[in-house]
Amino acid sequence: MTTEQKNAKHSHVPALTAPRAPKSLRSADAVLDNGLRVVAVRKPGVPIVEMRLRVPFLSAKPNHPARASLLAETIATGAGDLDRIGIAAAVQALGGDLSIGEDADRLIVSGNALSTNLAALLEIVAAIVTAPTYDRDEVATERARLVEKLSIARARPGVIAGEALGHRMWGTHPYAVDLPTPEAVGGVTPAQLRSLHRSSVRPASAVLVLVGELPPTRMIEHARGAFDAWTGSAASTRVPALPTTTGGPLLVVDRPGSVQTSVRFGGPALPRTDPGYPALQLANLIFGGYFSSRWTENIREDKGYTYGPHSRIDHHVLGSVLGLDVEVATEVTAPALLETWYELGKIASLPVTAEEVDSVRQYAIGTLALSTATQAGLASTLAGLAAFDLGLEWIAGHPARLLDTSVEQVSAAAAQFFAPSAFTSVAVGDASLIAGPLAGLGAVES
């Protein structure tokens, strides 16, 4: 029985009319002489242009996380003739904004401006990547701020839980470190930042995504003009493969006084390029990836244990990860875990229904269209896909892959990836209140 048939019991609920296909977008893709790949898409909308510059930043060096974090905080505090205030004022005058982010995989410069000002925005970004200053005083200011920001981040239970899960899943692998320590940040010098910049902020292997209401070829020409002087071959990085995770007992991390417990589960997943990915994507939605999922309907809408559980697939360069997260009231931590294990065991050992698959299929197709219907959403999606050599053709072709996925394939993906024993898990909360009840349900470590 399909969702539409089931919904027919409410004959008064309007049926869906014929779907309308999105208009195809004009795009251009070029590799500049210095190796920088430029992807430009003309996307009607508001008179704004979106920019994402993604630079690979993976490193196995133990001192990398602290230096990379501080580099992101200071890269835009002086370049060429412009000081920090000069850069900020120039960007603002373009109706623009620049922000810098980094994680274990990449450094990303995100920006936007009025579309008439694209060339000027790119010139400023080019100055930042080719002639950064790393002024001593600016580095000192940002180093002190970063230490405070890290202490604020680590006061959040979700950050503590994420770090605990990372260490338990990845051990000494670079992916285990999400945030650097204050001590490591405190020792970073301007010379070290310049050295990291020289070796890693390079055009080869970098991708520039531009999305706006402009002709794609003109956007590429602007990029060519701006980034001409940026040179350097790709940094050679040797990073070990991700270790295989093996599950194991639930780790209880004490955070005295917590009125909720932050629970995180992690396990392996498939990359988007794997033929089995659409089935896993749909299985994840059925389990906990959207509001009408089994996990949400059980522990929120039936039992009220939480404001909202979420399960998701995150794609990293070295591998994809299936992650579950939920914050539950301290007093119902054990029953909430019991229901979570129950739902995992159920989806791993019993088939999903055709009605469930129909619903998540439409949801996956519809939300892909919604998330790429804005200039900013499309730019961010393309920057994420570019790391895996995927682009507009992946977005355009994905609905057909979802439609071609059978109920049996979704059940098989659920059986392979959602077995409770496949997950590494942590619970951060008031151990004096939760450790006892949790130990009663299964193996616990603290």
């Binding site: 779907p19 120039a90 005058a93 623009g96 200011t141 009408s292 129909d358 919604l370 900013a376």
Partner: protein
């Protein structure tokens, strides 16, 4: 690097807006845009945190949750399932002056979305079981967003109590657990009868639609909802502060202190130009590394870790009627630095009031602000919600398209007056004491 454009010509959003009013009083705003096959549907009810009865703090938000628990013809869970199995997303949110409910949908689900909103405007299913369940959910929402994290609810939950005197303006909008637990299904039915009349709501539809077809669908699904009198909205205005107020808030998880400084600004609806001058002033003070307080407090004096100035309790300057608040908030590592921070802010405000802005400063800030307004309208659901909000709060959806022109007319002198009004004796200062300090 390219030079700064001298006289920025500011683009404005262009919408083809149609209005329609049903016999039961429901106001409808439609804005077709056929560039992508997506559509937004939003209903805003003219009731928010300020209209909660005494002893029922947090009730407007708890009630918002109940509006998702089944309706005239639908069981619990069906609303979510119908939206999501159509390929859409949904949400709702409770504000100080209104409550919204909305869906972003593929264009082929427009009529379904309208039906879903009409079904619950007709009658939500308010049962003791659903109330008990959503009470637990809301308490967990408050735990995750407020009680179990550093700086939770700061300052929006706590600053109004220092700024304002009446229950309507000063109480905790998320609600105390005791008040939430004492809510009954009778309270909910009364609240619905009183505030959720069609004549007390605005329906907004934007995106891939044909106006005539959409109006026909609206008449079909909403036309049968009985007309009820819209409640008369009282004025919530309060006189401005005449002396500085100070208070402290203890946060058990915060590692470093924080401060929120609140000032009353003129009626945001009746004095829109004054609001826009204050909005530009807020951007001059803290938007980006070239902003006055970033330079002074972060880069020169190293007094704060971050600083932000904004209007409206949730950072949206167009979200509230009178009264609304101009807030400056900051986190700072040295607990003894508060007076130095306040003094530096006063000096920077006085410098603007006395000397005005630097050459080009107002133009670049204005250009950026218009760009932000435009960018925020790109998503169909944001556009839908903004049109509804301007229609409900400001009386005219069209005002959005006029904002760039209105901003262009604000002068240096207007910002000097706005800065001059933010005096120490007019402010409320709430200091967050860090209970989680290392």
């Amino acid at each position: 690097v390219a030079g700064v454009p001298r006289q920025p010509r500011l683009p404005a959003p262009a919408f083809d807006i149609t209005h329609h009013t049903l016999a039961n009083g429901l106001r409808v705003v439609l804005a077709p845009d056929r560039s992508a096959p997506v559509v937004g549907v939003a209903v805003l009810y003219d009731v928010g945190i300020r209209s909660e009865p005494e002893g029922r703090t947090g009730f407007a938000h708890l009630f918002e949750h109940l509006m998702f628990q089944g309706s005239k013809t639908l069981e619990k869970l069906e609303h979510f399932r119908y939206v999501q199995s159509s390929g859409g997303t949904f949400n709702g949110s409770t504000h100080f002056d209104y409550t919204n409910y909305f869906e972003a949908l593929p264009a082929n689900a427009l009529e379904r979305g309208l039906f879903l909103e009409a079904d619950r405007m007709h009658s939500p299913r308010i049962t003791a079981e659903n109330l008990a369940n959503q009470l637990d959910v809301v308490k967990n929402e408050i735990r995750v967003n407020v009680l179990n994290r550093p700086y939770g609810g700061f300052p929006w939950i706590y600053l109004p109590a220092v700024m304002f005197d009446t229950f309507a303006n000063s109480h905790n909008g998320y609600g105390g657990f005791e008040d939430l637990e004492s809510a009954t299904t009778e309270d909910a039915k009364d609240f619905f009868d009183r505030y959720y009349a069609p004549a007390n709501a605005v329906l907004s539809i934007a995106g891939d639609l044909d106006v005539d077809d959409a109006v026909e669908m609206v008449e079909k699904h909403f036309g049968g909802i009985k007309k009820r009198r819209a409640p008369k909205r009282p004025s919530f205005a309060e006189p401005p502060l005449s002396a500085e107020r100070r208070d402290t808030h203890h946060d058990p998880h915060a590692p470093i202190p924080a401060v929120a400084i609140g000032y009353r600004v003129p009626d945001p609806v009746k004095s829109l130009d004054a609001l826009l001058a204050n909005l530009l002033l807020a951007e001059v003070l803290t938007d980006g590394d070239a902003a006055r307080l970033q330079r002074r407090l972060v880069q020169r004096d190293h007094l704060v870790t971050d600083v932000a100035a904004y209007i409206g309790e949730f950072g949206d300057p167009f979200d509230e009627r009178d009264p609304t608040t101009f807030t400056i908030s900051a986190h700072y590592p040295d607990a003894g630095a508060l007076d130095a921070i306040l003094q530096a802010i006063d000096q920077e405000l006085a410098r603007i009031a006395d000397d005005g802005l630097d050459a080009g400063e107002l133009d670049r800030v204005r250009t950026r602000l218009v760009s932000v307004l435009l960018r925020d309208l790109d998503a169909v659901i944001s556009r839908t919600l903004e049109l509804a909000k301007f229609e409900l709060i400001h009386g005219r959806a069209e005002l959005i398209t006029e904002l760039p022109g209105r901003l262009a007319a604000i002068t240096d002198a207007d910002l000097r007056s706005a800065a001059a009004a933010l005096r120490p004796d007019r402010r409320a200062v709430l200091e967050l004491v860090a209970g989680g300090a290392r």
